[in-house]
């Protein structure tokens, strides 16, 4: 997966921001891949902005049922006062869609941070020390990984919040149930990287000098084994949103008075659809689709750019493999799931 630019003869040292994960890939990409990456980044940016500025953007509060002119009324079609109509519970659809992005973002942040911390740590220990601990951890990770993640999330949501909860309770319940599903993925990826790096000369040298396990792990191994993380991160962020929405749809979301959540709104719109009321389901659903689409596009593009066989080059004919050069592909494959 060696960076094409790194293989090139040393040039002027690039400024720090062009070496940032996403920025460097953006510069490296061309054509369709660049289009996909940019489209994904734009969608993701809109999502984050909506989440941050929700109080300014949303015309009403997420649990607001009335204003100066009286109650909103239930299932009102889109109008000047309610651009996207109102729900069966009498909430403003547009406001709940915007506030919902905030809930989704918080869940992503909590879930991804927690699973990276735990998953990378376990992967590091598992890969570095090996032995029976490694085997047990990998077996547990495999068992959890093969199981339907939504079902596991349901069980965890019951455990953490007893099913229904406040805003932070609900966010943590959703985020932590997603965390447990993600830990195996981070564990496996980090572990395989660590195993690869462990046998390299510089680790050996550090050991010869007399560095301790902790120092070798943190300074030499960890820093070199995180290159695939941005990729899994984007893919997991989109999975987090889908799991959160699935939980909400099955009635394990966050109560409407505590926060806005897209899956919950879709669950409530089930009977609306049969009655031909479309505005309560289409908009929260589209919000999910667009955010997941954006994050997935970013992830997919990063994946393609990381894989030399899928990457398109800016100039010249088809890449390395046509020269008959064997690529060091073995370790990379299968690990990215």
């Amino acid at each position: 997966m060696a960076d094409a630019t790194e293989l090139a003869p040393p040039t002027v040292r690039r400024s720090w921001w062009t070496r940032l994960p996403v920025v460097s890939q953006l510069r490296q990409s061309i054509g369709l891949q660049r289009g996909m990456l940019i489209a994904g980044l734009v969608l993701a940016a809109i999502f984050v902005l909506a989440a941050v500025f929700a109080p300014l953007l949303a015309p009403y509060g997420y649990s607001q049922l009335r204003d100066a002119a009286g109650t909103f009324g239930a299932q009102q079609p889109p109008s000047a006062e309610h651009l996207l109509g109102t729900t069966v519970g009498g909430y403003d659809v547009l406001s709940r869609v915007i506030w919902g992005s905030r809930t989704a973002l918080l869940v992503i942040v909590v879930a991804v941070t927690a699973s990276i911390l735990v998953g990378v740590l376990l992967g590091l220990i598992s890969g570095y020390f090996g032995g029976w601990l490694d085997r047990v951890l990998v077996m547990i990770a495999d068992a959890i990984y093969a199981f339907p993640s939504l079902l596991l999330a349901i069980v965890l949501a019951i455990v953490i919040s007893g099913g229904q909860s406040s805003m932070w309770g609900g966010i943590f319940a959703a985020a932590l149930s997603i965390t447990v599903i993600f830990i195996p993925q981070y564990l496996r990826v980090t572990r395989s990287e660590v195993i690869r790096i462990k046998s390299e000369a510089f680790v050996e040298s550090a050991r010869v000098i007399g560095a301790g396990h902790v120092r070798i792990m943190s300074r030499h191994v960890l820093r070199n084994s995180t290159r695939t993380l941005p990729l899994i991160l984007t893919l997991n962020a989109s999975e987090a949103i889908l799991t959160l929405a699935g939980l909400g749809f099955l009635g394990f979301g966050i109560e409407p008075t505590a926060a806005a959540e897209w899956g919950y709104d879709l669950n409530k719109s089930l009977s609306d659809v049969t009655a031909g009321i479309w505005w309560t389901s289409i908009f929260p659903g589209l919000a999910i689709v667009l955010v997941v689409l954006g994050l997935t596009l970013v992830g997919e593009s990063l994946n393609d750019l990381a894989d030399p066989r899928l990457r398109k080059r800016a100039a010249g004919p088809e890449p390395v493999e046509d020269l008959g050069v064997e690529l060091p592909a073995g370790q990379q494959e299968g690990e990215q799931r």
Partner: protein, 356 residues
């Protein structure tokens, strides 16, 4: 997300026939710890919240009655004793009895499992019919317009939550166009006819075919279209991307290159050389799709009131019947482990490189 072709492992054993038997044996033994880990995880998680009776009845019963019920069900015994009971029960095929309607979980499984199985088979058919040819098409036109369109569609199929896709299909085909039924597995009249079939299989299409009545068969099929599409599209997207990546990989492989240099036409290269080897990894990946399919089935069944295991699970969740939830999840764990085993064996039969 993208899975590429597995690299051929260096030949380690030269025993030939014997290694397959050994592989199957090792793989079969691995089911035990997998199921054990999952069942234990579910048990520990469910019981850290307290006992199921308080969870379902807490607040609704006076404390004395609650304590009495807890005692009667044995939930006041030491947790390890309960765990042992639970494990031995599972070994005897007893996954517990639901609290809300006092049915053994295994009975729930046999009653509703067939509906889920039927839905999963339909969905897999849709996924194969759409995913594989389209993936092949995308790979052949790599980086051209058809590829771009198909890739975006595949990502969309992944990005759309199944229940939202279901809702939209319902809105368009059942409400606006009014050509397909809104929900359920069959209309009431058909359900009644199907109940009269002796020894019903529970798979409605099979039972309907046995009645021989075209109206009944048609009714069952029209009810299946939207749920099958909903769940199938999700999986089709995964297949499409997989086939695409793998065909692209095999297209660049040495033996295809050799054929190309001999002047074999591109279309023929695709059809005769690159396509079939690219399908092998898909068999392996189907194992992972089972989990996706089951999770998706819970949501699809809820959306379409398709009375299968997933629908039933959602009902028990709403009733806060956590014994039933624990039982169904444990049963599903066994199913997932066993299907993965079968898929791995099939993969090993097709592709000798998988065996170790």
């Amino acid at each position: 997300m993208t899975t590429t072709v597995e690299q051929p492992a260096p030949e380690t054993t030269s025993k030939g026939g014997g290694s397959l038997g050994r592989y199957i044996a090792v793989r079969a033994l691995l089911i035990i710890p997998t199921v054990f880990i999952l069942v234990t995880t579910v048990f520990v998680l469910m019981r850290t919240t307290g006992d199921p009776i308080t969870a379902s009845q807490g607040g609704r019963l006076p404390p004395e009655q609650l304590a009495e019920r807890i005692h009667a069900a044995g939930y006041d015994r030491p947790i390890l004793v309960q765990y042992w009971d639970y494990l031995t029960g599972i070994l005897h095929g007893d996954f517990g009895t639901t609290l809300s309607d006092h049915r053994p979980v295994t009975e729930v499984l046999t009653t509703f499992g067939t509906a889920t199985l039927e839905l999963a088979i339909y969905a897999l058919i849709v996924a194969f019919l759409l995913g594989i040819p389209l993936g092949r098409l995308a790979a052949f036109h790599r980086d051209k317009a058809p590829d771009a369109v198909l890739r975006v569609l595949a990502i969309l199929a992944y990005a759309t939550p199944v229940f939202f896709a279901g809702l939209m299909l319902k809105l368009v085909f059942s409400v606006w166009l009014n050509v397909l039924p809104v929900a359920g597995r069959a209309s009431t009249r058909t359900e009644l006819t199907l109940q009269k079939v002796d020894n019903p299989t529970g798979i409605y299409l099979v039972d309907a075919l046995r009645t021989g009545d075209p109206a009944v068969i048609g009714d069952v099929l029209t009810h299946a279209v939207l749920p099958a599409l909903t769940l199938g599209l999700l999986t089709a997207g995964v297949f499409l991307r997989l086939v695409r990546t793998n065909v692209i990989s095999t297209f660049g492989a040495g033996y295809v290159e050799a054929a190309r240099s001999r002047g074999v036409a591109e279309r023929r290269l695709l059809r005769k050389h690159a396509y079939k080897p690219a399908l092998i990894p898909i068999v392996t990946v189907i194992g992972l799709q089972i989990a996706l399919l089951l999770g998706g089935a819970v949501l699809t069944e809820t959306t379409f009131e398709w009375k299968g295991l997933g629908f039933q699970l959602a009902q028990y969740l709403q009733a806060r019947d956590f014994v039933a939830v624990q039982g169904i999840v444990a049963v599903l764990a066994v199913i997932v482990a066993v299907t993965n085993f079968i898929v791995d064996i099939i993969a090993a039969l097709i592709d000798p490189r998988v065996r170790y």
